[in-house]
């Protein structure tokens, strides 16, 4: 059964990582539903957040293949209930339509949206939330004349406490063991 997974991938800030990731997904015929790239909380470490729809078995395989890439530090795969996630959307609606409907107050309140800019021609509304809520607001606004609509990819944060920093530390330590040290460690 295909389901939605969020892949959080931490990598060195090198050119071409995204290309390497998409090659893996393309070979397995997996479409990227959304993608966000940014610097992570750790300096010099990039975070890619990908949303894909596939089977649990397949997402496990591609995650391993991603983690195998030399410049990738760590890959986490989460189903939607294991993370808190948000998307952001911007709506450009005609001022005339919105004012005539006299609904602006209602929309802003019930959808927890925000007005960013008002001009004689248009009003820009911002909304963060899940994809379904964002789409619902779009449907609500459509009768008043939506001039433009954009939405971002997903940003996600895990519910677990462990942070990347501790993984980095662990990996550092694992790497710094020499074979003879590992041997000694195993003997104890």
């Amino acid at each position: 059964m295909k389901q939605e997974f969020t892949i959080s991938l931490f990598s060195e800030d090198h050119i071409g990582i995204l290309n390497q990731i998409t090659i893996i997904l393309t070979r397995r015929q997996i479409n990227i539903e959304s993608i966000t790239a940014s610097e992570s909380a750790v300096k010099g470490v990039q975070l890619l957040t990908l949303v894909v729809k596939t089977t649990p078995d397949m997402v496990r395989k591609v995650a391993k293949q991603m983690e195998k890439l030399v410049d990738v530090l760590k890959v986490f795969v989460h189903s939607s209930d294991e993370i808190i996630y948000q998307e952001i959307a911007l709506y450009k609606v005609t001022t005339k339509g919105l004012m005539s409907g006299n609904v602006i107050d209602h929309i802003v309140r019930s959808y927890h949206a925000r007005i960013l800019e008002v001009s004689p021609e248009y009003i820009i509304i911002e909304k963060t939330g899940h994809k379904s809520e964002i789409t619902e607001l779009l449907t609500q606004l459509e009768p008043y004349g939506v001039l433009q609509f954009v939405r971002s990819g997903r940003v996600a944060i895990t519910k677990q406490v462990k942070e990347l920093n501790s993984y980095l530390k662990e990996m550092d330590e694992a790497n710094r063991f020499k074979p003879e040290e590992i041997e000694a460690y195993n003997k104890n």
Partner: protein, 588 residues
């Protein structure tokens, strides 16, 4: 990062005190590249020059005493030769090519090395950095092109980065599951000056080849092994890569478990050993394929359950519990779900596992393999290796070479029927003795690979079995053999067909031989043009005598042996069939 810098500075100071090769002197990027290679212990480079890489080739003349450059006749030949060099010498294979077509001609060779996990460092030149992205003359985005087939690749645009990137390249190529890396160096970086100092790379934050040993899993494996009744070892290329042949033998002998090998695992276990179960896969031996589905425990070591080994996955070893010892985590549970994974190096695991397993024998289980061997001998091997009449068979030639060399030679193959026959009928006695294109199945691999194999291990006899089709794919490398007088023994198994494709047409396409029959030139005459002596063998009576002459000759030698035109390689697991459905007799 600060600490790294400090140690760097200290090192620089230390080396300044005693002027050595890496005393931080001012050199060009091209010079730094060659010095870096020398620092990594490189002495042989395969390659082909061109416009963008000229500064590097110019500098090569200054290092002729330390770096031997083999000029092949095509970049693909250089890539295959360097791979074979790596496979027999255990050192990484080094390959140079220029930008654009030089670089793209390497791709088949890079992909081949990637699928077969061979450590290689490819150096390609790139156009001047200001021209990158402008579709300049001989500009190709080789990073983009090679990305899916390299373990890692990188572009260098500044000379000062060359030593560190080369160090990183060698570290990545040779550690963990080895593989090819590609470094693309712009022409301006080759000419730019830098202060040269070299420090080998031993650590990368994002790359962890030293996996702490999973001792708990090894203990569990020992329990499973000690309680097994019909266990079977599947040994792959990983055994050879980690140098675990001795440990494998000790493990098998102590536990009494029969050992089957994959194509690239051949020669990891002596084929004359009483516990040798044979060669796995589509054209492997009867016993190990059939009995895979009878075993109660499979111990897979350094192999990846390739589809040519497993046949139909839905019917593969469903009854068996599987232990997978594998250094590449992405291979575990990729094709076959395993019961116990040991994500570590084969040698390390085996040496820890041996003291934990009990001494045992499985007489009736091993006898089942011998019974299968007998069946296979009666139905296939006998008529293939010792035919009374008719045309010469491939198996017959290989069997004779095996006898005449006592099983001690490096066997290089091309791809197809010649490859399967060589893998099946040569009785290997020493490790690292088969050089073949496994995962990729690259026709044209054989001839250039034989050159690399001989240069990588000049002390051993190198015999190449090549079909008449594959021979013509890289026939230009006869020029390299002429140029360097490389004493390789070339045996063309000439059936006038693209044999394996013809076999499939015979079996699955109602004998409709579409584009598989070849009109061939006289190979002996061609060889003569390259001053390579040769004999055309048409009759059985001439065969042994000609083979002896080939093996005794000092220099290169070529035999063009006329083979049974429509011989099929058997046994066979037909596509989509299960390993237990391996067929011994096929009648068209």
């Amino acid at each position: 990062m600060n600490t790294d810098l400090e140690t760097d500075m200290k090192m620089e100071k230390a080396t300044n005190d005693e002027p050595t090769l890496n005393g931080g002197e001012q050199v060009t990027g091209a010079d730094a590249l060659l010095r870096s290679l020398i620092e990594e212990g490189v002495d042989t480079i395969f390659g082909y020059p061109g416009g963008a890489i000229m500064p590097v080739y110019d500098k090569l003349l200054d290092y002729e005493d330390k770096l031997k450059h083999i000029l092949t006749r095509h970049e693909q030949g250089a890539a295959h030769a360097a791979q074979a060099y790596a496979m027999v010498s255990g050192k990484p294979g080094i390959c140079f090519a220029t930008s654009g077509p030089g670089a793209t001609n390497l791709i088949t060779g890079i992909a081949n090395a990637y699928l077969d996990s061979v450590p290689m460092v490819f150096i390609t030149a790139q156009v001047v950095s200001t021209l990158i992205g402008t579709d300049a003359f001989q500009e190709t985005d080789i990073l983009g092109v090679s990305m899916p087939v390299t373990k890692w690749n990188c572009q260098v645009k500044k000379a000062q980065d060359i030593p560190d990137i080369i160090a990183k390249a060698f570290y990545i190529a040779t550690t963990g599951r080895p593989g090819p890396v590609l470094i693309d160096i712009t022409k301006d970086a080759q000419n730019e000056k830098l202060s040269f100092k070299y420090k080998r790379c031993t650590y990368l934050r994002s790359y962890n080849p030293h996996i702490p040993l999973h001792t708990k899993a090894i203990e569990s494996a020992a329990i499973m092994i000690n309680h097994a009744e019909r266990p079977l070892i599947l040994a792959g290329h990983g055994v050879l890569i980690s140098g675990a042949e001795k440990e494998l033998r000790e493990f098998a002998e102590k536990t009494g478990i029969p050992v089957a090998v994959t194509l690239l695992g051949i020669s990891s276990f002596p084929s004359g050993h009483r516990l040798y179960a044979g060669f796995l896969g589509m054209h492997g031996n009867y016993g190990p394929n059939l009995l895979t589905n009878e075993a109660d425990l499979i111990i897979a070591i350094g192999m990846r359950f390739d589809d040519r080994v497993t046949g139909n996955l839905k019917k593969y070893a469903r009854q068996a519990r599987i232990i997978h010892i594998e250094i590449d985590e992405a291979e575990i549970n990729k094709n076959v779900q395993v019961d116990l994974e040991i994500h570590n190096d084969a040698k390390e695991v085996l040496s820890h596992l041996i003291p934990l397993v009990g001494k045992k024998t499985y007489e009736s289980w091993v006898r089942e393999f011998r019974i299968c061997d007998k069946t296979e001998f009666d139905k296939v091997i006998k008529s293939e290796t010792k035919p009374d009449s008719g045309d010469i068979k491939m198996g017959e030639v290989i069997n004779l070479v095996s006898e005449l060399t006592g099983g001690d030679a490096v066997i290089v193959t091309d791809v197809g029927q010649n490859q399967m026959a060589a893998a099946r009928y040569f009785r290997f006695t020493n490790p690292n003795s088969l050089v073949t294109s496994g995962g990729m199945g690259t026709m044209g691999f054989g001839l250039p690979a034989s050159i690399g194999a001989k240069i990588g291990n000049p002390g051993r006899q190198v015999v190449a079995f090549i079909g008449d089709g594959g021979f013509q794919m890289t026939i230009q490398e006869l020029g390299t053999i002429l140029h360097y007088r490389i004493p390789v023994k070339i045996i063309i198994l000439n059936n006038g067909y693209l044999g394996m494709v013809r076999q499939w047409q015979d079996m699955f396409f109602k004998k409709r031989y579409a584009s598989t029959e070849l009109v061939n030139p006289d190979f002996v005459t061609i060889a003569a043009g390259y001053k390579i002596p040769g004999i055309k063998v048409l009759e059985r009576v001439e065969l042994k005598k000609s083979l002896i002459e080939l093996l005794k000759s000092d220099g290169p030698f070529l035999l063009d042996i006329k083979i049974d035109k429509e011989g099929n390689v058997l046994p066979m697991i037909e596509p989509g069939a299960s390993v237990s459905e391996v067929t011994l007799n096929y009648k068209s």
